[in-house]
Amino acid sequence: MAYLELDRVAKQFGAQTVVDDFSLSVGKGEFISFLGPSGCGKTTTLQMIAGFLDPTRGAIRLEGKDLTAIHPAKRGLGIVFQSYALFPHMTAAENVAFGLEMRNVPRSERAERVRAALAMVGLAGYEDRHPRRMSGGQQQRVALARALVIKPSVLLLDEPLSNLDAKLREEMQIELRQIQRTIGTTTILVTHDQNEAMSLSDRIVVMSQGRIEQIGSPQETYEKPASAFVSQFLGRTNDFAAAIDRSVAPAQLMAGSWSTPAPAGLNGPVTVSIRPERIGFGDAGLGAKIVTRIFQGNHWLFQCESECGVAIVIRQNDGKAQPVEGEAVRLTWRPEDMSVRARAIA
């Protein structure tokens, strides 16, 4: 059964619809990411769950109970803000203790839980520091400890790692995932970083302009993007203009000189999406010429001019000789690696 459920939630600011028809059910202990470009409504959705904004339409339920009827102070959710929003006049320990104080947890138990929470995020010994005397990563950990110490039913994270440098961000990602696995808190993470979403989540909700484009596991959204938007947003992809010809038997899908038996259902002009790492060089297939090739250590990146436009190919550096710039090549791929969508003719 769904633990947290959003049912056709929508939010309007004046005439502008910022989130529309947002339905999602989150299982207990699941780690969900909202992924999408800036301004697509991720924060707005999160704030509706937190209760800082009221949905214009739709329902939000936690364990079957209507969450929108409960005051934000009583929802018992843990929230980490993009700016951390730590209380600058309190020490790290006081920050973490604040939520427990509000719950009237006895002083001795409070001290013990604060200590444990700070230790869990690797900040033992920093109890008496003030936030402004801590690094960005440390402040981030305090914010996480402050949200987790109240044993929230759901943990909401709004781009918590976006202010950190690349290396620290990676460390924190691993740590965040470990902590979440250990204590099993249902978590929703807002991010516009696809790597972050893929490496952390059980399922990704890809959003664009206030609507859900796709909900699926990282592999699903990467391998089987439901729309052109998803395939473009999650990693690089090649989109080739192709056509399905049903006048021959068996029906054929043709992208330039590359062809394969056509999948059922579609007809006429289609778009074929294929990831760069799934394309290989062969004896027959899409005709192309290598424009540039870039060595990137563990792989080679080729940019080609093909019959169907620009194509990007990534090959593992397996020690074998690779085509050079200016060389004519043939691009091939396995039919099951591509996704095919109908294409409207301009």
Binding site: I79, F81, Q82, F87, F98
Partner: protein, 291 residues
């Protein structure tokens, strides 16, 4: 780099600030030094000012209870004015900050508008409303029968505090406003998500963070009120004098310039001590919030 260029570089800041520095020395430091010197000169009804070095004026200021009373009144009025502006101004700034777009600019204009009007005009406004039997409010209340005698306002300390608080309010509101701008916009949401109610949020989260703003506003209001001249002159006249009007009187009515200079110097020194002292205290106490 050659030694000459280095020397030229070292001189550049001085050259650049020279005009402002000259102005500062010319119109502030020299008159100030002359006032301090003046306070040690002698004065007599018939002989006028004698440029000698004596402690007569300082002795008089220090021992005559008349002067002590003036100074206590000055600081009492300044403290009460400061309290009143803090009590009203801090909530005002907070409410203003929470308003949305259009209302915010409208009310900000209402609060800051008075700054565009002369202090004299603003204080005279109070005199028109409460001045004796002819004050508008007094007349109205008396004709309705709510009061029998006019509310005493002119020539009272209460009147002075009220009028001064009105004049000083924008400084307090602006100062608290500046502190509020430094708050994290999500800080109230953060406290709320942890289970804090509105009163707790204000007491535990907002107040401690805007306290430096309230205190720096208080320093501004206090020093301006203690040295204010126009408002005490209109409300208190010569009946209820404060340090500034007292010095003015000694200069222009009694013509005892040296004594007036001693009063003015004492006021300045006392203010500098209070302001610098409290500023140091505040910065130490709120080091974490100021950083």
């Amino acid at each position: 780099m050659s030694a000459g260029a280095e020397e030229r570089e070292a001189r550049t800041p001085w050259a650049l600030t020279a005009p402002a520095l000259l102005l500062f020395v010319g119109v502030l430091l020299i008159p100030l030094a002359m006032t301090v010197m003046l306070s040690f000169h002698d004065w007599g009804q018939y002989k006028g000012i004698e440029p000698v070095f004596i402690l007569k004026n300082w002795h008089e200021v220090a021992t005559d209870p008349y002067f002590a009373e003036m100074f206590w009144r000055t600081f009492r009025i300044a403290i009460l004015t400061t309290l009143l502006t803090a009590l009203l101004g801090a909530p005002e700034a907070y409410i203003l900050n929470r308003m949305s777009g259009r209302w915010k600019s409208f009310f900000l204009l209402i609060i800051l508008g008075p700054l565009l009007i002369s202090v004299v005009a603003r204080t005279l406004g109070w005199a028109l409303l409460f001045g004796g039997n002819n004050g508008l409010v007094n007349k109205l209340l008396m004709s309705v029968g709510l009061i029998h005698a006019p509310i005493p306002f002119m020539f009272t300390e209460t009147g002075m505090v009220v009028a001064l608080a009105h004049v000083m309010m924008p400084f307090m509101v602006l100062s608290v406003w500046a502190a509020l701008q430094r708050l994290d916009p999500q800080i109230e949401n953060a406290a709320m998500s942890l289970g804090a109610g509105p009163a707790t949020i204000i007491r535990r989260i907002i107040m401690p963070q805007i306290m430096p703003g309230v205190l720096s506003g208080a320093i501004i209001v206090f020093s301006l009120s203690a040295s204010a001249f126009a408002t005490p002159a209109i409300i208190g006249g010569r009946r209820l004098k404060v340090a500034a009007t007292l010095a003015y009187d000694e200069f222009l009515n009694t013509l005892n310039w040296p004594l007036g200079a001693a009063v003015a110097t004492l006021l300045l020194v006392a203010l500098v001590f209070i302001v610098v002292g409290s500023n140091a205290l505040i910065e130490r106490r709120y080091a974490e919030v100021f950083r």
